[in-house]
């Protein structure tokens, strides 16, 4: 479970002065739920996820990941999350198997268990054919599967996925989506950011629309439709961006 209360991140900018990239953001992600953070580029999605993954320190507010405070207990938080970003962050000179071994060890997995689990994850994501080829030589789709395998390897209760399907073709994006859905079935708490409407509509149990650092609305698709009076998420989204936060957090 992820609990976020009035989370704020201010960046010091010489030219423009202090700027709140994430401003008073609050939401909650339950176990067994896919929670979508939807917003245009620069809305504050990545900064929010980076604070939850303990990469950035919040300027104000607080966030608990599985009951652990991101500021006070970053090590405990990191042990419980699987973090994946759109550009995968894979070492190009290592093979997928080497990558998994390293991250398994960093996640303090036992050697025997790690060996079995690597084989398991490789077959689960159909990576057998390229498990021992350097990441350098792999296609974007293959790399994203390696990234996902790395995220799921240590079986973390919390998944933080930052635009995991960006730049992928439709079939590969589909593979990733299916894995996210199956992770929900096993009770994981999934926080997911995207700017693709269809994906959010298809995957997410609840959606928060974020714009200019503020959360405009939070709810299920049904609730979003009811509040805005629009049928499609795209229209809801555009309306919220236009209204400039007038209906900020109407449904929680």
């Amino acid at each position: 479970m992820i609990q976020v209360e009035s989370l704020t991140k201010t960046f010091r900018d010489k030219a423009r002065g202090d700027r709140a990239v994430v401003d008073q953001v609050s939401f909650e992600v339950r176990d067994g739920e896919i929670f979508g953070l939807l917003g245009p580029n620069g809305a504050g999605k990545t900064t929010t996820l980076r604070m939850l993954a303990t990469l950035l320190k919040p300027s104000a507010g607080r966030a608990l990941v599985d009951g652990h405070d991101v500021t006070a207990e970053p090590a405990e938080v990191r042990r419980r999350i699987g973090f994946l970003s759109g550009d995968t962050g894979l070492y190009h000179r290592l093979t997928p198997r080497e990558t998994l071994r390293i991250f398994g060890r960093l996640n303090r997995m036992e050697e025997d268990r790690l060996r079995d689990r690597i084989d398991e994850v490789i077959s689960m994501l159909s990576m057998q054919e390229f498990a021992d080829i350097k990441v350098d030589k792999l296609s974007t789709g293959m790399r994203q599967r390696v990234g996902l395998a790395r995220t799921l390897l240590h079986d973390p209760p919390i998944l933080i996925l930052d635009e995991p399907t960006s730049g992928l073709d439709v079939p590969t994006a589909r593979v990733i989506e299916e894995f996210i859905v199956s992770a929900r079935k096993s009770g994981k708490c999934i926080l997911y950011s995207t700017h693709v409407m269809e994906e959010a509509e298809f995957l997410c149990d609840r959606i928060a629309v974020i714009h200019e650092g503020h959360i405009r609305i939070i709810g299920t698709m049904g609730e979003l439709k009811a509040v805005t009076g629009r049928e499609r998420l795209r229209e809801i989204f555009l309306e919220l961006l236009d209204s400039g936060g007038m209906r900020k957090a109407a449904v929680v």
Partner: protein, 393 residues
């Protein structure tokens, strides 16, 4: 901090490093090739250029006024090739001869032989020296024969003789040269050897967006920095060992008379024994740690590979200054000087190879280098915890 985490990061960096061509070149290829090519260059200059200057120096201009059969015959007999000149000075200026001779009258009316020389040219200087020596001998012979004519013994010319003896044995001279070259070459290559690995695992990770993933893992910042610093230290130290091995092999070959030039044969007289090599390596260990920590800290500031390279290149060049000062003769390492990083190592290596270092200075240099390494490491960790530096783009 746990050993297993640091080891995992370290092994990951080592694996990554040994698959990176740029790192391999600076770490292994350069030290293995640099030393023999350095020796080859020295060999070339001392042998070929010297020989060329020697050959050229034989060609000497001579004006008609000096050209008496007795003198020209004597000059030719000692190997000079004489070229008659109408303008002795111009012939040297336009380089058609190495030096030239002319005859004038001195203020007191005696004959004065003028040697025209261009001191910016080695061949000309050599020619002038040889001509001077020859003419002095000639003068002496004339004085002697005059004395004989007067019935005076030649010995009045030489009431006593003067001779200077170099108490430094050839081995010590060779040790001085070897120690200077070794300290300088090893220090410079240590920094260049660790530079690419240091950049690759900091600015490189930022550029390729792998840093985020590493930071989101349960490894602590200290564990990550320590793993990276130790991997870079390994690279630097490996470079140092390869450089030393390469030097030892070069001079050993020369000592056995297989290849190598005069320079190697000279330094082969100071071929260091095992204990010297161990002491040198012991001196270099904290230096490698220091070099690695400094380079990791600086490279972390950069947004990408190119920026890191332009930040680190002046650092590597700055190393050359204290290393060269350490090569100068006349400086002895005392406890105070032993506290100056890089310089202390350059100086200490020279003294170790000479076999006359002070134990106190050794200890001071060793401990101060460990201390600087720790400060640089602490600084790296601090930077690693500064998110504005880490996520700068």
């Amino acid at each position: 901090m746990t050993f297993r985490m640091v080891k995992t990061i370290y092994l990951k960096e080592m694996l990554d490093m040994f698959r990176d061509r740029r790192s391999l070149i600076s770490m292994i290829v350069v030290p293995v090739l640099a030393v023999p090519s350095l020796f080859a260059v020295v060999h070339y200059f001392t042998q070929n250029l010297g020989k060329k200057a020697q050959n050229e120096s034989a060609r000497v201009g001579i004006s008609a006024s000096v050209s008496q059969p007795g003198l020209t015959g004597a000059l030719k007999s000692v190997g000079f090739e004489l070229v008659p000149q109408t303008d002795a000075r111009a012939a040297v200026e336009n380089k058609s001869v190495a030096a030239s001779l002319d005859l004038t009258r001195a203020a007191d009316g005696t004959g004065q032989i003028v040697i025209y020389v261009d001191k910016t040219r080695e061949a000309s200087s050599i020619a002038a020296e040889r001509l001077t020596a020859f003419l002095e001998r000639l003068k002496l012979e004339q004085v002697k024969s005059s004395l004989r004519g007067l019935g005076v013994s030649e010995r009045v010319l030489n009431p006593f003789t003067v001779k200077s003896t170099n108490v430094a044995p050839a081995k010590k001279m060779a040790g001085f040269i070897l120690g200077s070259v070794l300290g300088y070459a090893v220090l410079l290559l240590m920094f260049t050897g660790g530079m690419y690995p240091a950049i690759d695992m900091t600015a490189g990770e930022k550029e390729r967006h792998t840093m985020e993933t590493l930071l989101a893992s349960p490894a602590s910042r200290e564990e990550i920095v320590l793993g990276k610093v130790l991997a870079t230290t390994t690279a630097s130290f490996l470079t140092a060992m390869l450089t030393i091995a390469s030097i030892l092999i070069s001079i050993q070959r020369a000592g056995l008379g297989q290849g190598g030039g005069e320079f190697e044969r000279l330094v082969s007289r100071a071929a260091p024994d095992a204990s010297t090599v161990v002491l040198v390596l012991l001196t270099l260990l904290p230096t490698a740690l220091f070099a690695a920590s400094v380079m990791i800290a600086i490279a972390l500031f950069a947004r990408g590979f190119k920026e890191a390279q332009s930040l680190l290149t002046p650092v590597v060049m700055a190393v050359v200054v204290p290393a060269v000062v350490g090569m100068l003769p006349g400086i002895e390492l005392n406890v105070g000087l032993a506290l100056i990083p890089v310089f202390n190592v350059s100086q200490l290596i020279k003294e170790i190879v000479l076999g006359e270092f002070s134990h106190l200075a050794f200890l001071a240099a060793f401990l101060s280098n460990v201390f600087y390494a720790l400060v640089a490491f602490w600084f790296s960790v601090r930077i690693f915890k500064t998110e504005s530096v880490l996520f700068r783009s």
